[in-house]
């Protein structure tokens, strides 16, 4: 299972802040998970449309080619604006 988190504008666009997802076969990277989620269509297209989308795997910033493993926590969010 993957734990997936959404934050800020993306969370609002998707109408949810988290979900659990069984890691399907052939989904070895962050990019593949991203494509899988965006392909849900409707509000989920926000994942593809968010400018400079950021991704963290296990609370570390990660690139689209980062590998995924069962039990990982994956977060999608817009560029940060704290401080």
């Amino acid at each position: 299972m993957l734990k997936i988190l959404y934050f800020a504008g993306l969370r609002e666009a998707l109408g949810q802040s988290s979900e659990q997802l069984a890691l399907p076969g052939g989904m070895g990277t962050v990019g593949q998970l991203h494509a899988h989620l965006a392909a849900r269509g409707g509000a989920w297209e926000a994942l593809a449309k968010t400018k400079n989308l950021r991704i963290a795997v296990n609370q570390q910033m990660a690139a689209m080619d980062a590998p995924l493993n069962d039990g990982d926590e994956v977060a999608f969010f817009p560029p940060v604006t704290g401080g």
């Binding site: 934050f7 800020a8 977060a75 604006t81 704290g82 401080g83």
Partner: protein, 151 residues
């Protein structure tokens, strides 16, 4: 080193005193306080909400402080970032760096702020007369963080 993400306000004097208490090797305390302004990008701000990524936020801040310690002579440092609902004039963020010398204290303090702005998972949503809006990341913040690569 202290890193805190909290809803409560902070007190600059208390944090500085905690860093200097009982030691006499600190010659320089550089600090920064960020506050909520009542206007941003041409709109009036009634209040704002700060969201963050619990767990990652604290790790991210601690890593930024560690990077600063690796680059400059830092004796101790404190970073506090507030979350939740804030209004104009409220404190948002505090960074204090203690060092023997001022050059290190200033550089480390500004470095921490520049990286916090671009790396730490916080997001601001402002309430304006036209409704709520998520603040856009600023290119100038990326430029500010990039400048440290050459130093």
């Amino acid at each position: 080193m202290k890193v805190s993400v909290q809803t409560e306000d902070f007190d600059l004097d208390v944090e500085c005193a905690a860093l200097t208490h009982g030691r006499k090797d600190i010659g320089a305390l550089a600090s920064f306080v960020g506050l909520v302004r009542d206007a941003n990008d041409g709109a009036g701000i009634a209040r704002m909400t700060l969201e963050h990524y619990p767990g990652m936020t604290e790790k991210s801040l601690a890593e930024i402080v560690e990077q600063a310690r690796g680059r400059w002579d830092v004796l101790d440092a404190t970073v506090i970032h507030r979350v939740g609902e804030l209004k104009p004039g409220d404190n948002i963020v505090l960074v204090v760096v203690a060092s023997a010398h001022r050059g290190d204290a200033f550089a480390a303090c500004e470095f921490i702020m520049d990286f916090l702005k671009t790396r730490a998972p916080f997001w601001k949503k402002e309430e304006t007369p036209e409704g709520g809006r998520w603040v856009d990341a600023r290119e100038s913040d990326d430029v500010a963080a990039e400048k440290w690569k050459g130093r």
